[in-house]
């Protein structure tokens, strides 16, 4: 087509997408008595409306916390997620008993979240691309990285490398899991090494940082991705704001460590509202996935018909 016609065809086309592209608030089927208050606009919301909008406030766009499985389901092609390594569970190798015994914290976290540790990983398709996807759940011991989280993340990278998949990780974390001591710190090196090997194999890795992402997780696999996005309002850093404040002995500037300020400082690529995330990540994969890796078979999220 002549280039002038091509430009003409594109006239009037929308280049940007609204931040609140969620479904119209429903007028029926809202469960009775399920209300939620938005901490940002103070509005009172029907839980059903919030859920339809991927837990984003339909009035002001505030992003509520999401559990790991819901984050993954909201991101990948429907019905393609298949968990891997669910059988890994945390031990208490140091028998850490200072403060609350680690064993007790783990037990409670398993009960309240229904998860076996803070990271959930698996095969999936995203925009038709074969990926290994993962999410960290802040409810599980602050999504801290111990041996199991480190192992799941490293295996996710290894699997992607073996099966020629991209990697997409939705990251939240308080940092390394101190109850596992140096075993936990070394997971930073392990996951970073695994991310490096994926990069060396020419496969893309996209990370999405959600609120909050701190410490040893930020300073390892979370930021070794090819493209880094963050959710609106996410707080991201290495040292926590209180420690920074104590160090510099004055109050912190407004917006310090916020996703928006990280874009300004050149540390991440963009702040992407949850409702746009699937399209944005799948577009990145369109550009970066090696052509031969995105076969029709792999796109189902399964490998050779079995999981």
């Amino acid at each position: 087509m002549p280039i002038n016609d091509w430009f003409k065809q594109r006239e009037g086309r929308r280049y940007t997408v609204s931040g609140q592209g969620c479904a119209e608030p429903a007028t029926d089927g809202v469960p009775d008595g399920v209300w939620r208050s938005c901490p940002q606009c103070k509005g009172t919301l029907y839980q059903g409306d919030v859920a339809r909008c991927l837990s984003v406030c339909p009035h002001c766009g505030h992003h509520f916390e999401l559990i790991a499985r819901d984050r993954i389901e909201a991101l990948v092609d429907p019905g393609t997620f298949a968990e891997i390594d669910g059988a890994l569970t945390s031990a208490d190798p140091l028998r850490f008993s200072a403060g609350k015994p680690y064993g007790t914290s783990l037990e409670r976290a398993c009960q309240t979240t229904g998860m076996t540790d803070a990271a959930l990983t698996g095969r999936a398709a995203l925009g038709g691309h074969p990926v290994v996807v993962g999410a960290l759940d802040f409810r599980f011991v602050g999504a801290s990285m111990g041996s199991v989280v480190g192992e799941r993340i490293a295996r996710a990278f290894d699997l992607a490398r073996d099966e020629r998949r991209g990697v997409v990780l939705l990251v939240a974390s308080g940092g390394a899991r101190m109850q596992e001591g140096m075993l936990s710190l070394m997971q930073m090196a392990k996951t970073s090494a695994a991310a490096g090997r994926l990069a060396g194999a020419g496969l893309p890795y996209v990370s999405v940082l959600v609120n909050p992402t701190y410490g040893g997780v930020t300073a390892s696999f979370a930021v070794l991705s090819d493209v880094i996005f963050a959710e609106p309002g996410a707080m991201i850093g290495f040292a926590g704001p209180r420690l920074v404040e104590q160090t510099i002995r004055r109050s912190l500037p407004k917006g310090f460590q916020s996703a928006a300020s990280l874009v300004e400082h050149g540390m991440i690529d963009d702040v992407v509202p949850r409702v746009e995330l699937r399209r944005r990540v799948s577009t990145v994969l369109d550009y970066l996935m090696p052509a031969h890796a995105s076969g029709a078979d792999a796109a189902s999220g399964t490998q050779g018909g079995e999981l």
Binding site: S97, M178, A189, A193, A219, G237
Partner: protein, 320 residues
């Protein structure tokens, strides 16, 4: 010069002072003093042995922070020839808390990378007390890449309380700089020998703190978090650091048991600062032996083996 006295050394220091005072008296006029001095000397020696032969984890942390403990630049001066210091990260600044240099250890050409605490307040201010800024880690990463390209083995010295937690450190991407070091170090096609000589504080230590052979001085520590900060998180009370230090399994002996390091280098009674030259020479011998053991290895094997070593770290259950 008066030695810096650590908290747990105080009873010993008091006895030592008393001994010095007694010795200053005129023995000729009071001959019964001689016996008293001999008794006190025996007592001092007995206390020294009991104090230092069973240091608690928290006491080891104090020894590792002793201001007179040999620093990275003491090891560099004591062990290496033809030192060409490399400075700057080529993006922002030269961070003196991170030392990088081309250097020769008894004929072995290597790249030295080390956290660099100072010997005086003035030096410590210039070196940010050994806590690197992002530009320090970027300098280290630059040195790693250079070593990798030209086949120079890497020798690192760990001695930091941790990465600098300032406002600008955050704004300039402290986490990004550390993460990039981890990725680069993991993939380096040259031998990497790590020596823990003092403090091994968290991610700031880890950035240059893993490799093919890892040794640690007996009273150095390596930890996911400082005992003080751990105590604040658990008990809102930094004074409970001794408990945290014990719980974190941060001593060289603990880490040998956990399979994270390969060897513990013994220190003289009282700590490395009592006989720095002996300790520096012993560390040099061990590094040279490690370099020689790794020298013939195929580069691809080296990287693969380092990866498998990292992959094997972690304790978990796997059902079914």
């Amino acid at each position: 010069m008066a030695r810096f006295v650590m908290e747990f050394e105080r009873p010993l220091a008091e006895l030592e002072e008393k001994l010095i005072a007694l010795k200053a008296l005129d023995i000729a006029t009071t001959p019964e003093l001689a016996a008293e001095i001999a008794d006190l000397e025996r007592e001092v020696e007995r206390l020294r042995v009991t104090l230092y032969s069973a240091l608690s984890p928290w006491e080891k942390v104090q020894v590792s922070r002793h201001p007179e403990r040999p620093k990275t630049d003491d090891y560099v001066r004591g062990l290496f020839d033809d030192v060409v210091e490399l400075r700057g990260d080529r993006a922002h600044a030269d961070d003196q808390s991170m030392f990088t240099a081309l250097a020769t250890l008894a004929g072995r050409r290597v790249m030295v990378i080390g956290h660099n605490k100072g010997h005086s307040t003035k030096e410590n201010v210039a070196r940010n007390f050994g806590s690197p800024h992002p530009e320090g880690f970027r300098k280290a990463e630059r040195a790693m890449r250079l070593a990798g390209r030209f086949g120079l083995p890497v020798v690192t010295f760990l001695d930091t309380a941790g990465a600098s937690p300032g406002l600008e450190d955050e704004e300039r991407g402290q986490a990004w700089a550390i993460a990039r070091c981890l990725e680069t170090l993991a993939g380096l096609p040259v031998p990497v020998v790590v020596a823990g000589i003092g403090e091994g504080g968290s991610g700031g230590a880890l950035a240059i703190g893993f490799g093919d052979r890892m040794l640690m001085l007996e009273h150095s520590y390596y930890s996911v978090i400082s005992p003080e900060m751990c105590a604040v998180i658990l008990h809102k009370d930094a004074a409970r650091a001794p408990e945290s230090a014990a719980a974190l399994s941060l001593t060289a002996a603990d880490l040998l048991r956990l399979g994270i390091i390969d060897e513990v280098v013994p220190e003289p009674l009282g700590g490395a600062h009592r006989e720095p030259d002996t300790v520096i020479a012993e560390v040099g011998l061990r590094i040279a032996a490690a370099l020689d053991a790794l020298a013939g290895d195929d580069r691809a094997d080296l990287v693969e083996r380092r990866y498998q070593r990292l992959r094997a770290i972690g304790v978990y259950n796997e059902a079914g």
